[in-house]
Symmetry: C2
Protein backbone atom coordinates (compact mmCIF):
# COMPACT_ATOMS: atom_id res chain seq x y z
CA UNK A 1 0.00 0.00 0.00
CA UNK A 2 1.57 3.28 -1.12
CA UNK A 3 1.29 6.57 0.72
CA UNK A 4 -0.81 9.18 -1.04
CA UNK A 5 0.04 12.85 -0.66
CA UNK A 6 -2.55 15.49 -1.52
CA UNK A 7 -2.00 19.23 -1.63
CA UNK A 8 -5.04 21.46 -2.00
CA UNK A 9 -7.73 23.39 -0.19
CA UNK A 10 -9.69 22.80 2.98
CA UNK A 11 -12.68 25.11 2.99
CA UNK A 12 -16.03 26.04 4.42
CA UNK A 13 -18.73 25.91 1.75
CA UNK A 14 -22.16 27.45 1.47
CA UNK A 15 -24.18 25.69 -1.17
CA UNK A 16 -27.67 26.03 -2.53
CA UNK A 17 -29.29 23.47 -4.86
CA UNK A 18 -32.96 22.97 -5.79
CA UNK A 19 -33.02 20.38 -3.01
CA UNK A 20 -31.69 22.35 -0.07
CA UNK A 21 -29.23 24.82 1.33
CA UNK A 22 -26.24 24.54 3.68
CA UNK A 23 -24.01 27.19 5.29
CA UNK A 24 -20.28 26.98 6.17
CA UNK A 25 -20.13 23.20 5.87
CA UNK A 26 -16.92 21.22 5.44
CA UNK A 27 -15.57 21.46 1.90
CA UNK A 28 -12.42 21.97 -0.15
CA UNK A 29 -10.70 19.90 -2.83
CA UNK A 30 -8.17 18.28 -0.50
CA UNK A 31 -10.89 17.47 2.03
CA UNK A 32 -13.10 15.60 -0.43
CA UNK A 33 -10.08 13.93 -1.99
CA UNK A 34 -8.63 12.79 1.35
CA UNK A 35 -11.87 11.48 2.72
CA UNK A 36 -12.59 9.44 -0.39
CA UNK A 37 -9.03 8.12 -0.72
CA UNK A 38 -8.92 7.17 2.97
CA UNK A 39 -11.12 4.15 2.21
CA UNK A 40 -8.27 2.76 0.13
CA UNK A 41 -4.88 3.86 1.45
CA UNK A 42 -2.83 6.04 3.84
CA UNK A 43 -3.51 9.67 2.93
CA UNK A 44 -1.31 12.61 3.96
CA UNK A 45 -2.94 15.99 3.58
CA UNK A 46 -1.14 19.31 3.02
CA UNK A 47 -3.32 22.41 3.31
CA UNK A 48 -4.01 25.36 5.55
CA UNK A 49 -7.04 26.48 7.54
CA UNK A 50 -7.85 29.56 9.60
CA UNK A 51 -8.22 29.90 13.35
CA UNK A 52 -11.99 29.62 12.95
CA UNK A 53 -11.86 26.09 11.54
CA UNK A 54 -13.99 23.74 13.64
CA UNK A 55 -12.17 21.01 15.57
CA UNK A 56 -14.94 18.58 14.69
CA UNK A 57 -14.00 18.73 11.01
CA UNK A 58 -10.41 17.79 11.82
CA UNK A 59 -11.61 14.86 13.90
CA UNK A 60 -13.71 13.66 10.95
CA UNK A 61 -10.55 13.33 8.86
CA UNK A 62 -8.48 11.94 11.73
CA UNK A 63 -11.10 9.28 12.37
CA UNK A 64 -10.53 8.10 8.81
CA UNK A 65 -6.81 7.85 9.50
CA UNK A 66 -5.86 10.83 7.35
CA UNK A 67 -2.44 12.18 8.40
CA UNK A 68 -2.88 15.87 9.21
CA UNK A 69 0.77 16.69 10.03
CA UNK A 70 0.87 18.82 6.87
CA UNK A 71 -2.28 20.76 7.74
CA UNK A 72 -1.29 24.14 9.19
CA UNK A 73 -3.46 26.64 11.01
CA UNK A 74 -2.79 30.19 9.83
CA UNK A 75 -3.81 33.48 11.41
CA UNK A 76 -7.09 34.58 9.91
CA UNK A 77 -10.21 32.95 8.55
CA UNK A 78 -10.62 29.73 6.59
CA UNK A 79 -11.12 29.76 2.81
CA UNK A 80 -14.82 30.11 2.01
CA UNK A 81 -16.75 29.33 -1.16
CA UNK A 82 -20.41 29.94 -1.84
CA UNK A 83 -22.14 28.47 -4.88
CA UNK A 84 -25.50 27.71 -6.36
CA UNK A 85 -26.78 25.00 -8.68
CA UNK A 86 -29.96 25.11 -10.71
CA UNK A 87 -31.74 21.95 -11.92
CA UNK A 88 -28.87 21.56 -14.37
CA UNK A 89 -26.59 20.23 -11.65
CA UNK A 90 -23.70 20.03 -14.09
CA UNK A 91 -22.58 23.61 -13.57
CA UNK A 92 -22.04 25.60 -10.37
CA UNK A 93 -22.57 29.33 -10.25
CA UNK A 94 -20.03 30.81 -7.85
CA UNK A 95 -21.70 33.40 -5.62
CA UNK A 96 -18.72 34.29 -3.46
CA UNK A 97 -15.09 33.31 -2.97
CA UNK A 98 -13.13 34.46 0.10
CA UNK A 99 -9.57 33.13 -0.16
CA UNK A 100 -8.67 34.31 3.37
CA UNK A 101 -5.70 32.24 4.66
CA UNK A 102 -5.62 30.32 1.38
CA UNK A 103 -4.33 33.46 -0.39
CA UNK A 104 -0.93 33.04 1.29
CA UNK A 105 -0.82 29.25 1.16
CA UNK A 106 2.75 28.08 0.38
CA UNK A 107 2.82 24.31 0.77
CA UNK A 108 5.85 23.11 2.67
CA UNK A 109 6.44 19.38 2.85
CA UNK A 110 7.84 17.95 6.06
CA UNK A 111 10.28 15.04 5.99
CA UNK A 112 7.63 12.36 6.08
CA UNK A 113 5.89 13.75 3.03
CA UNK A 114 8.74 14.17 0.55
CA UNK A 115 8.97 10.51 -0.27
CA UNK A 116 5.28 9.80 -0.97
CA UNK A 117 5.10 7.56 -4.05
CA UNK A 118 1.63 8.79 -5.06
CA UNK A 119 0.90 12.52 -5.28
CA UNK A 120 -2.27 14.43 -6.10
CA UNK A 121 -1.99 18.13 -6.80
CA UNK A 122 -5.53 19.39 -6.32
CA UNK A 123 -6.80 22.48 -8.11
CA UNK A 124 -4.42 25.24 -6.92
CA UNK A 125 -2.07 27.71 -8.62
CA UNK A 126 0.12 25.66 -11.01
CA UNK A 127 3.18 27.47 -9.66
CA UNK A 128 2.41 26.00 -6.24
CA UNK A 129 1.86 22.62 -7.87
CA UNK A 130 5.33 22.89 -9.42
CA UNK A 131 6.79 23.97 -6.11
CA UNK A 132 5.39 20.83 -4.44
CA UNK A 133 7.04 18.63 -7.05
CA UNK A 134 10.37 20.47 -6.49
CA UNK A 135 10.19 19.53 -2.81
CA UNK A 136 9.88 15.79 -3.48
CA UNK A 137 13.07 13.86 -2.74
CA UNK A 138 12.65 11.55 -5.71
CA UNK A 139 10.32 11.44 -8.67
CA UNK A 140 7.06 10.03 -7.26
CA UNK A 141 5.74 6.90 -8.88
CA UNK A 142 2.56 8.65 -9.99
CA UNK A 143 1.76 12.37 -10.08
CA UNK A 144 -1.80 13.46 -10.87
CA UNK A 145 -3.13 16.97 -11.02
CA UNK A 146 -6.41 18.76 -11.31
CA UNK A 147 -6.87 22.25 -12.69
CA UNK A 148 -9.55 24.69 -13.82
CA UNK A 149 -10.39 27.41 -16.34
CA UNK A 150 -8.97 30.15 -14.08
CA UNK A 151 -5.43 28.73 -14.35
CA UNK A 152 -5.80 27.72 -17.99
CA UNK A 153 -6.57 31.33 -18.76
CA UNK A 154 -4.22 33.09 -16.36
CA UNK A 155 -1.25 30.77 -15.82
CA UNK A 156 -1.13 28.50 -18.81
CA UNK A 157 2.66 28.49 -19.09
CA UNK A 158 3.14 27.30 -15.51
CA UNK A 159 0.29 24.83 -15.99
CA UNK A 160 1.99 23.38 -19.07
CA UNK A 161 5.22 23.03 -17.11
CA UNK A 162 3.58 21.06 -14.31
CA UNK A 163 1.60 19.00 -16.85
CA UNK A 164 4.91 18.07 -18.51
CA UNK A 165 5.99 16.57 -15.18
CA UNK A 166 2.71 14.76 -14.44
CA UNK A 167 1.37 11.32 -15.26
CA UNK A 168 -2.35 11.97 -14.94
CA UNK A 169 -4.49 15.05 -15.38
CA UNK A 170 -8.15 15.26 -14.42
CA UNK A 171 -10.03 18.04 -16.20
CA UNK A 172 -13.62 18.72 -17.15
CA UNK A 173 -14.72 18.70 -20.78
CA UNK A 174 -15.07 22.46 -21.27
CA UNK A 175 -11.63 22.99 -19.72
CA UNK A 176 -10.08 20.27 -21.88
CA UNK A 177 -11.42 22.05 -24.97
CA UNK A 178 -10.13 25.37 -23.64
CA UNK A 179 -6.65 24.09 -22.80
CA UNK A 180 -6.24 22.38 -26.17
CA UNK A 181 -8.01 25.11 -28.20
CA UNK A 182 -9.87 22.24 -29.83
CA UNK A 183 -13.65 21.67 -29.75
CA UNK A 184 -13.39 17.93 -30.44
CA UNK A 185 -12.81 16.03 -27.17
CA UNK A 186 -10.84 13.18 -28.68
CA UNK A 187 -8.42 15.53 -30.36
CA UNK A 188 -8.33 17.71 -27.23
CA UNK A 189 -7.35 14.70 -25.11
CA UNK A 190 -4.59 13.79 -27.54
CA UNK A 191 -3.31 17.38 -27.53
CA UNK A 192 -3.20 17.44 -23.72
CA UNK A 193 -1.40 14.08 -23.59
CA UNK A 194 1.16 15.55 -25.99
CA UNK A 195 2.04 18.12 -23.31
CA UNK A 196 3.14 15.33 -21.02
CA UNK A 197 0.61 13.25 -19.06
CA UNK A 198 0.27 9.64 -20.14
CA UNK A 199 -3.30 9.62 -18.86
CA UNK A 200 -5.96 12.25 -19.47
CA UNK A 201 -9.22 11.92 -17.54
CA UNK A 202 -12.01 14.09 -18.92
CA UNK A 203 -14.77 14.57 -16.34
CA UNK A 204 -18.23 15.09 -17.81
CA UNK A 205 -20.34 15.38 -14.69
CA UNK A 206 -23.65 13.54 -15.06
CA UNK A 207 -22.38 12.18 -18.37
CA UNK A 208 -19.51 10.23 -16.85
CA UNK A 209 -15.78 10.24 -17.47
CA UNK A 210 -13.61 9.49 -20.48
CA UNK A 211 -10.03 8.36 -19.91
CA UNK A 212 -7.23 8.18 -22.45
CA UNK A 213 -4.22 6.10 -21.37
CA UNK A 214 -1.40 5.34 -23.79
CA UNK A 215 -3.71 6.50 -26.59
CA UNK A 216 -6.56 4.07 -25.75
CA UNK A 217 -9.94 5.27 -24.53
CA UNK A 218 -12.05 3.94 -21.66
CA UNK A 219 -15.41 5.31 -20.65
CA UNK A 220 -17.38 5.07 -17.42
CA UNK A 221 -20.87 6.57 -17.18
CA UNK A 222 -22.08 8.36 -14.10
CA UNK A 223 -24.09 6.00 -11.93
CA UNK A 224 -27.81 6.28 -12.73
CA UNK A 225 -29.04 7.69 -9.41
CA UNK A 226 -32.63 8.35 -8.44
CA UNK A 227 -31.64 11.32 -6.29
CA UNK A 228 -28.82 13.80 -6.76
CA UNK A 229 -28.69 16.51 -4.10
CA UNK A 230 -25.39 18.35 -4.42
CA UNK A 231 -22.58 17.80 -6.94
CA UNK A 232 -20.04 19.80 -4.92
CA UNK A 233 -16.89 17.76 -4.39
CA UNK A 234 -17.80 15.10 -6.96
CA UNK A 235 -14.66 15.76 -9.02
CA UNK A 236 -12.38 15.67 -5.99
CA UNK A 237 -13.88 12.50 -4.52
CA UNK A 238 -13.62 11.03 -8.01
CA UNK A 239 -9.88 11.80 -7.96
CA UNK A 240 -9.69 10.43 -4.40
CA UNK A 241 -11.18 7.08 -5.37
CA UNK A 242 -9.04 6.95 -8.50
CA UNK A 243 -5.72 7.72 -6.80
CA UNK A 244 -6.62 5.89 -3.60
CA UNK A 245 -7.18 2.65 -5.49
CA UNK A 246 -3.94 2.96 -7.49
CA UNK A 247 -1.91 3.79 -4.38
CA UNK A 248 -3.44 0.86 -2.50
CA UNK A 249 -2.64 -1.53 -5.34
CA UNK A 250 0.73 0.12 -6.03
CA UNK A 251 -0.10 -0.23 -9.70
CA UNK A 252 -0.12 2.24 -12.59
CA UNK A 253 -0.75 -0.06 -15.56
CA UNK A 254 -3.66 0.48 -17.96
CA UNK A 255 -5.86 -2.29 -16.48
CA UNK A 256 -5.48 -0.84 -12.99
CA UNK A 257 -6.23 2.63 -14.37
CA UNK A 258 -9.57 1.31 -15.70
CA UNK A 259 -10.56 -0.11 -12.35
CA UNK A 260 -9.38 3.12 -10.72
CA UNK A 261 -11.69 5.10 -13.00
CA UNK A 262 -14.60 2.99 -11.79
CA UNK A 263 -13.61 3.43 -8.12
CA UNK A 264 -13.42 7.17 -8.75
CA UNK A 265 -16.91 7.08 -10.25
CA UNK A 266 -18.14 5.02 -7.30
CA UNK A 267 -16.93 7.59 -4.76
CA UNK A 268 -18.33 10.52 -6.79
CA UNK A 269 -21.70 8.77 -7.04
CA UNK A 270 -21.94 8.67 -3.24
CA UNK A 271 -20.82 12.28 -2.78
CA UNK A 272 -23.65 13.74 -4.86
CA UNK A 273 -26.29 11.88 -2.84
CA UNK A 274 -26.10 14.41 0.00
CA UNK A 275 -24.60 17.78 0.94
CA UNK A 276 -20.95 18.22 1.94
CA UNK A 277 -19.29 14.91 2.97
CA UNK A 278 -22.45 13.68 4.67
CA UNK A 279 -23.03 10.61 2.50
CA UNK A 280 -19.35 9.68 2.69
CA UNK A 281 -19.41 9.71 6.49
CA UNK A 282 -22.12 7.02 6.40
CA UNK A 283 -20.10 4.81 4.05
CA UNK A 284 -18.61 1.42 4.75
CA UNK A 285 -16.36 -0.84 2.64
CA UNK A 286 -19.36 -3.02 1.72
CA UNK A 287 -21.16 -0.03 0.20
CA UNK A 288 -18.14 0.67 -1.99
CA UNK A 289 -17.82 -2.96 -3.06
CA UNK A 290 -21.55 -3.15 -3.83
CA UNK A 291 -21.55 -0.03 -5.97
CA UNK A 292 -18.39 -1.14 -7.77
CA UNK A 293 -20.23 -4.34 -8.67
CA UNK A 294 -23.26 -2.31 -9.77
CA UNK A 295 -21.02 -0.17 -11.99
CA UNK A 296 -19.48 -3.27 -13.47
CA UNK A 297 -22.93 -4.60 -14.29
CA UNK A 298 -23.89 -1.25 -15.81
CA UNK A 299 -21.09 -1.44 -18.40
CA UNK A 300 -20.59 -5.20 -18.78
CA UNK A 301 -21.25 -6.28 -22.35
CA UNK A 302 -20.55 -10.00 -21.98
CA UNK A 303 -21.97 -11.68 -18.90
Amino acid sequence: MGDLLVVGSVALDSVETPFGKVHDVLGGSATYFSYAASFFTQVRLVATVGEDFPEAHLRLLQDRGVDLDGLTTSRGRTFRWAGQYSYDLNEAKTLDTQLNVFADFRPSLGDGLRRAPFVFLANIDPELQLDVLRQMEARPRLVALDTMNFWIQGKQEALRRVLAESDVVTINDAEARQLASEPNLVRAARAIAAIGPRTVVVKRGEYGALMMTDGAFFFVPAYPLESVYDPTGAGDTFAGGFMGYLAAQERTDAAAMRRALVYGSVMASFTVEDFSLKRLTRLGPADIADRYAAFHDLIRLEQ
Copy 2:
Protein backbone atom coordinates in the same frame (compact mmCIF):
# COMPACT_ATOMS: atom_id res chain seq x y z
CA MET B 1 -32.76 -14.83 -39.28
CA GLY B 2 -36.05 -13.05 -38.63
CA ASP B 3 -37.71 -10.63 -41.01
CA LEU B 4 -37.72 -7.04 -39.82
CA LEU B 5 -40.60 -4.75 -40.76
CA VAL B 6 -40.20 -0.99 -40.51
CA VAL B 7 -42.92 1.61 -40.97
CA GLY B 8 -41.88 5.24 -41.14
CA SER B 9 -40.81 8.08 -43.39
CA VAL B 10 -38.70 8.29 -46.51
CA ALA B 11 -37.73 11.89 -47.09
CA LEU B 12 -35.56 14.42 -48.83
CA ASP B 13 -33.50 16.39 -46.32
CA SER B 14 -31.73 19.72 -46.49
CA VAL B 15 -29.21 20.02 -43.70
CA GLU B 16 -26.72 22.61 -42.61
CA THR B 17 -24.03 21.99 -40.00
CA PRO B 18 -20.88 23.98 -39.19
CA PHE B 19 -19.08 21.54 -41.49
CA GLY B 20 -21.16 21.79 -44.65
CA LYS B 21 -24.54 21.97 -46.30
CA VAL B 22 -26.59 19.56 -48.40
CA HIS B 23 -29.87 20.00 -50.29
CA ASP B 24 -32.64 17.43 -50.95
CA VAL B 25 -30.50 14.45 -49.99
CA LEU B 26 -31.88 11.04 -49.07
CA GLY B 27 -33.30 11.00 -45.54
CA GLY B 28 -36.23 9.81 -43.45
CA SER B 29 -36.49 7.61 -40.39
CA ALA B 30 -37.38 4.41 -42.27
CA THR B 31 -34.59 5.01 -44.77
CA TYR B 32 -31.85 5.31 -42.16
CA PHE B 33 -33.31 2.43 -40.18
CA SER B 34 -33.58 0.11 -43.19
CA TYR B 35 -30.14 0.83 -44.52
CA ALA B 36 -28.51 0.21 -41.13
CA ALA B 37 -30.56 -2.93 -40.40
CA SER B 38 -29.85 -4.34 -43.87
CA PHE B 39 -26.33 -5.23 -42.73
CA PHE B 40 -27.86 -7.72 -40.31
CA THR B 41 -31.14 -9.12 -41.60
CA GLN B 42 -33.93 -9.06 -44.20
CA VAL B 43 -35.64 -5.67 -43.95
CA ARG B 44 -39.11 -4.89 -45.32
CA LEU B 45 -39.89 -1.20 -45.63
CA VAL B 46 -43.36 0.38 -45.52
CA ALA B 47 -43.49 4.07 -46.45
CA THR B 48 -44.62 6.41 -49.18
CA VAL B 49 -42.76 8.79 -51.48
CA GLY B 50 -43.87 11.34 -54.08
CA GLU B 51 -43.53 11.21 -57.82
CA ASP B 52 -40.40 13.35 -57.59
CA PHE B 53 -38.47 10.74 -55.62
CA PRO B 54 -35.22 9.86 -57.42
CA GLU B 55 -34.90 6.31 -58.76
CA ALA B 56 -31.27 6.24 -57.64
CA HIS B 57 -32.35 6.40 -54.01
CA LEU B 58 -34.57 3.36 -54.44
CA ARG B 59 -31.72 1.46 -56.04
CA LEU B 60 -29.50 2.28 -53.08
CA LEU B 61 -31.94 0.48 -50.79
CA GLN B 62 -32.57 -2.35 -53.27
CA ASP B 63 -28.85 -2.94 -53.59
CA ARG B 64 -28.78 -3.61 -49.87
CA GLY B 65 -31.54 -6.18 -50.30
CA VAL B 66 -34.24 -4.07 -48.64
CA ASP B 67 -37.70 -5.28 -49.71
CA LEU B 68 -39.52 -2.25 -51.15
CA ASP B 69 -42.87 -3.98 -51.88
CA GLY B 70 -44.43 -1.86 -49.13
CA LEU B 71 -43.06 1.42 -50.49
CA THR B 72 -45.80 3.21 -52.42
CA THR B 73 -45.50 6.18 -54.74
CA SER B 74 -48.24 8.73 -54.14
CA ARG B 75 -49.34 11.65 -56.29
CA GLY B 76 -47.46 14.74 -55.15
CA ARG B 77 -44.11 15.59 -53.72
CA THR B 78 -41.95 13.64 -51.29
CA PHE B 79 -41.82 14.60 -47.59
CA ARG B 80 -39.13 17.24 -47.06
CA TRP B 81 -37.32 18.32 -43.92
CA ALA B 82 -34.83 21.13 -43.54
CA GLY B 83 -32.75 21.54 -40.41
CA GLN B 84 -29.71 23.22 -39.02
CA TYR B 85 -27.17 22.27 -36.34
CA SER B 86 -24.83 24.62 -34.53
CA TYR B 87 -21.57 23.46 -32.92
CA ASP B 88 -23.75 21.82 -30.29
CA LEU B 89 -24.61 18.96 -32.60
CA ASN B 90 -26.92 17.44 -30.00
CA GLU B 91 -29.95 19.45 -31.07
CA ALA B 92 -31.40 20.15 -34.51
CA LYS B 93 -33.22 23.36 -35.28
CA THR B 94 -36.00 22.58 -37.76
CA LEU B 95 -36.11 25.24 -40.47
CA ASP B 96 -38.88 23.77 -42.59
CA THR B 97 -41.16 20.72 -42.71
CA GLN B 98 -43.21 19.91 -45.81
CA LEU B 99 -45.26 16.78 -45.16
CA ASN B 100 -46.47 16.55 -48.77
CA VAL B 101 -47.50 12.92 -49.54
CA PHE B 102 -46.59 11.93 -45.98
CA ALA B 103 -49.62 13.88 -44.70
CA ASP B 104 -51.96 11.22 -46.11
CA PHE B 105 -49.77 8.21 -45.34
CA ARG B 106 -51.94 5.28 -44.19
CA PRO B 107 -49.69 2.23 -43.95
CA SER B 108 -51.24 -0.85 -45.46
CA LEU B 109 -49.43 -4.13 -44.98
CA GLY B 110 -49.47 -6.64 -47.82
CA ASP B 111 -49.67 -10.36 -47.13
CA GLY B 112 -45.92 -10.86 -46.91
CA LEU B 113 -45.57 -8.22 -44.23
CA ARG B 114 -48.23 -9.21 -41.72
CA ARG B 115 -46.24 -12.06 -40.29
CA ALA B 116 -42.92 -10.27 -39.68
CA PRO B 117 -41.60 -11.38 -36.27
CA PHE B 118 -39.66 -8.15 -35.65
CA VAL B 119 -41.36 -4.77 -36.10
CA PHE B 120 -40.04 -1.24 -35.78
CA LEU B 121 -42.56 1.59 -35.71
CA ALA B 122 -40.49 4.66 -36.58
CA ASN B 123 -41.45 8.10 -35.40
CA ILE B 124 -44.94 8.62 -36.88
CA ASP B 125 -48.40 9.39 -35.49
CA PRO B 126 -49.04 6.86 -32.70
CA GLU B 127 -52.48 6.18 -34.16
CA LEU B 128 -50.79 4.94 -37.32
CA GLN B 129 -48.39 2.91 -35.20
CA LEU B 130 -51.41 1.30 -33.52
CA ASP B 131 -53.03 0.69 -36.89
CA VAL B 132 -49.93 -1.17 -38.08
CA LEU B 133 -50.05 -3.46 -35.05
CA ARG B 134 -53.77 -4.12 -35.75
CA GLN B 135 -52.85 -5.37 -39.21
CA MET B 136 -50.37 -7.97 -37.96
CA GLU B 137 -51.68 -11.54 -38.21
CA ALA B 138 -50.10 -12.58 -34.92
CA ARG B 139 -48.38 -10.77 -32.08
CA PRO B 140 -44.84 -10.14 -33.40
CA ARG B 141 -41.99 -11.50 -31.36
CA LEU B 142 -40.60 -8.00 -30.73
CA VAL B 143 -42.23 -4.62 -31.31
CA ALA B 144 -40.12 -1.49 -30.91
CA LEU B 145 -41.19 2.08 -31.42
CA ASP B 146 -39.70 5.51 -31.60
CA THR B 147 -41.53 8.73 -30.84
CA MET B 148 -40.94 12.43 -30.30
CA ASN B 149 -42.07 15.48 -28.29
CA PHE B 150 -44.73 16.37 -30.90
CA TRP B 151 -46.69 13.17 -30.20
CA ILE B 152 -46.01 13.21 -26.46
CA GLN B 153 -47.63 16.61 -26.36
CA GLY B 154 -50.43 16.16 -28.91
CA LYS B 155 -51.33 12.45 -28.88
CA GLN B 156 -50.23 11.12 -25.55
CA GLU B 157 -53.24 8.87 -25.08
CA ALA B 158 -52.69 7.05 -28.38
CA LEU B 159 -48.97 6.96 -27.64
CA ARG B 160 -49.62 5.30 -24.28
CA ARG B 161 -51.86 2.74 -25.96
CA VAL B 162 -49.20 1.75 -28.49
CA LEU B 163 -46.55 1.76 -25.75
CA ALA B 164 -48.68 -0.70 -23.79
CA GLU B 165 -48.44 -3.08 -26.77
CA SER B 166 -44.70 -2.62 -27.35
CA ASP B 167 -41.60 -4.34 -26.04
CA VAL B 168 -39.02 -1.63 -26.67
CA VAL B 169 -39.22 2.14 -26.87
CA THR B 170 -36.39 4.37 -28.06
CA ILE B 171 -36.69 7.94 -26.87
CA ASN B 172 -34.30 10.81 -26.23
CA ASP B 173 -33.62 12.06 -22.72
CA ALA B 174 -35.66 15.28 -22.88
CA GLU B 175 -38.62 13.33 -24.30
CA ALA B 176 -38.33 10.65 -21.63
CA ARG B 177 -38.53 13.36 -18.96
CA GLN B 178 -41.49 14.94 -20.76
CA LEU B 179 -43.42 11.69 -21.19
CA ALA B 180 -42.90 10.67 -17.55
CA SER B 181 -43.28 14.20 -16.11
CA GLU B 182 -40.15 13.37 -14.13
CA PRO B 183 -36.80 15.20 -14.31
CA ASN B 184 -34.77 12.26 -13.00
CA LEU B 185 -33.87 9.93 -15.86
CA VAL B 186 -33.81 6.73 -13.80
CA ARG B 187 -37.26 7.36 -12.41
CA ALA B 188 -38.46 8.50 -15.86
CA ALA B 189 -37.30 5.21 -17.39
CA ARG B 190 -39.08 3.22 -14.69
CA ALA B 191 -42.27 5.23 -15.23
CA ILE B 192 -42.17 4.59 -18.98
CA ALA B 193 -41.56 0.87 -18.46
CA ALA B 194 -44.61 0.86 -16.21
CA ILE B 195 -46.73 1.88 -19.23
CA GLY B 196 -45.76 -1.35 -20.97
CA PRO B 197 -42.39 -1.76 -22.66
CA ARG B 198 -39.99 -4.18 -21.03
CA THR B 199 -37.07 -2.24 -22.48
CA VAL B 200 -36.60 1.53 -22.45
CA VAL B 201 -33.70 2.92 -24.48
CA VAL B 202 -32.89 6.54 -23.64
CA LYS B 203 -30.83 8.15 -26.41
CA ARG B 204 -28.50 10.90 -25.22
CA GLY B 205 -26.79 11.89 -28.48
CA GLU B 206 -23.08 12.53 -28.00
CA TYR B 207 -23.46 11.24 -24.43
CA GLY B 208 -24.46 7.73 -25.45
CA ALA B 209 -27.48 5.59 -24.63
CA LEU B 210 -28.91 4.19 -21.42
CA MET B 211 -31.04 1.03 -21.60
CA MET B 212 -33.28 -0.36 -18.92
CA THR B 213 -34.36 -4.00 -19.46
CA ASP B 214 -36.28 -5.89 -16.80
CA GLY B 215 -35.30 -3.13 -14.37
CA ALA B 216 -31.52 -3.43 -14.94
CA PHE B 217 -29.50 -0.66 -16.53
CA PHE B 218 -26.85 -0.88 -19.24
CA PHE B 219 -24.96 2.05 -20.65
CA VAL B 220 -23.07 2.52 -23.91
CA PRO B 221 -21.20 5.77 -24.58
CA ALA B 222 -21.15 7.39 -27.98
CA TYR B 223 -18.01 6.41 -29.83
CA PRO B 224 -15.26 9.02 -29.30
CA LEU B 225 -14.95 10.30 -32.86
CA GLU B 226 -12.43 12.83 -34.14
CA SER B 227 -14.91 14.19 -36.68
CA VAL B 228 -18.67 14.48 -36.49
CA TYR B 229 -20.25 16.08 -39.55
CA ASP B 230 -24.00 15.56 -39.35
CA PRO B 231 -26.04 13.86 -36.60
CA THR B 232 -29.17 13.54 -38.82
CA GLY B 233 -30.38 9.94 -38.83
CA ALA B 234 -28.19 8.86 -35.90
CA GLY B 235 -31.20 7.80 -33.81
CA ASP B 236 -32.79 5.83 -36.65
CA THR B 237 -29.58 4.04 -37.65
CA PHE B 238 -29.11 3.32 -33.95
CA ALA B 239 -32.52 1.64 -33.95
CA GLY B 240 -31.65 -0.13 -37.21
CA GLY B 241 -28.49 -1.67 -35.77
CA PHE B 242 -30.30 -2.55 -32.55
CA MET B 243 -33.30 -4.24 -34.18
CA GLY B 244 -31.28 -5.65 -37.07
CA TYR B 245 -28.99 -7.52 -34.69
CA LEU B 246 -31.86 -8.90 -32.60
CA ALA B 247 -33.79 -10.00 -35.69
CA ALA B 248 -30.68 -11.68 -37.14
CA GLN B 249 -30.04 -13.55 -33.89
CA GLU B 250 -33.75 -14.20 -33.31
CA ARG B 251 -33.10 -13.35 -29.68
CA THR B 252 -34.74 -10.94 -27.25
CA ASP B 253 -33.04 -11.86 -23.97
CA ALA B 254 -31.20 -9.28 -21.86
CA ALA B 255 -27.69 -10.35 -22.97
CA ALA B 256 -28.66 -10.02 -26.63
CA MET B 257 -30.24 -6.63 -25.88
CA ARG B 258 -26.89 -5.42 -24.53
CA ARG B 259 -25.04 -6.48 -27.65
CA ALA B 260 -27.83 -4.95 -29.75
CA LEU B 261 -27.34 -1.63 -27.95
CA VAL B 262 -23.68 -1.70 -28.95
CA TYR B 263 -24.52 -2.58 -32.59
CA GLY B 264 -26.97 0.33 -32.58
CA SER B 265 -24.24 2.62 -31.28
CA VAL B 266 -21.84 1.27 -33.91
CA MET B 267 -24.22 2.13 -36.77
CA ALA B 268 -24.98 5.58 -35.34
CA SER B 269 -21.27 6.31 -34.98
CA PHE B 270 -20.80 5.76 -38.70
CA THR B 271 -23.85 7.80 -39.71
CA VAL B 272 -22.62 10.99 -38.06
CA GLU B 273 -19.28 10.82 -39.87
CA ASP B 274 -20.79 12.21 -43.09
CA PHE B 275 -23.97 13.75 -44.48
CA SER B 276 -27.07 11.70 -45.35
CA LEU B 277 -26.31 7.97 -45.72
CA LYS B 278 -22.95 8.64 -47.36
CA ARG B 279 -20.76 6.96 -44.75
CA LEU B 280 -23.11 3.97 -44.58
CA THR B 281 -22.85 3.40 -48.32
CA ARG B 282 -19.08 2.97 -47.94
CA LEU B 283 -19.50 0.42 -45.15
CA GLY B 284 -18.57 -3.26 -45.19
CA PRO B 285 -19.13 -6.02 -42.61
CA ALA B 286 -15.47 -5.75 -41.51
CA ASP B 287 -15.94 -2.07 -40.61
CA ILE B 288 -18.89 -3.00 -38.41
CA ALA B 289 -17.01 -5.83 -36.72
CA ASP B 290 -13.98 -3.60 -36.14
CA ARG B 291 -15.98 -0.83 -34.54
CA TYR B 292 -17.93 -3.29 -32.42
CA ALA B 293 -14.58 -4.52 -31.10
CA ALA B 294 -13.47 -0.92 -30.53
CA PHE B 295 -16.68 -0.25 -28.58
CA HIS B 296 -16.11 -3.35 -26.52
CA ASP B 297 -12.61 -2.15 -25.69
CA LEU B 298 -13.96 1.28 -24.80
CA ILE B 299 -16.22 -0.14 -22.09
CA ARG B 300 -14.37 -3.30 -21.06
CA LEU B 301 -13.41 -3.15 -17.41
CA GLU B 302 -11.68 -6.53 -17.10
CA GLN B 303 -9.34 -7.48 -19.92
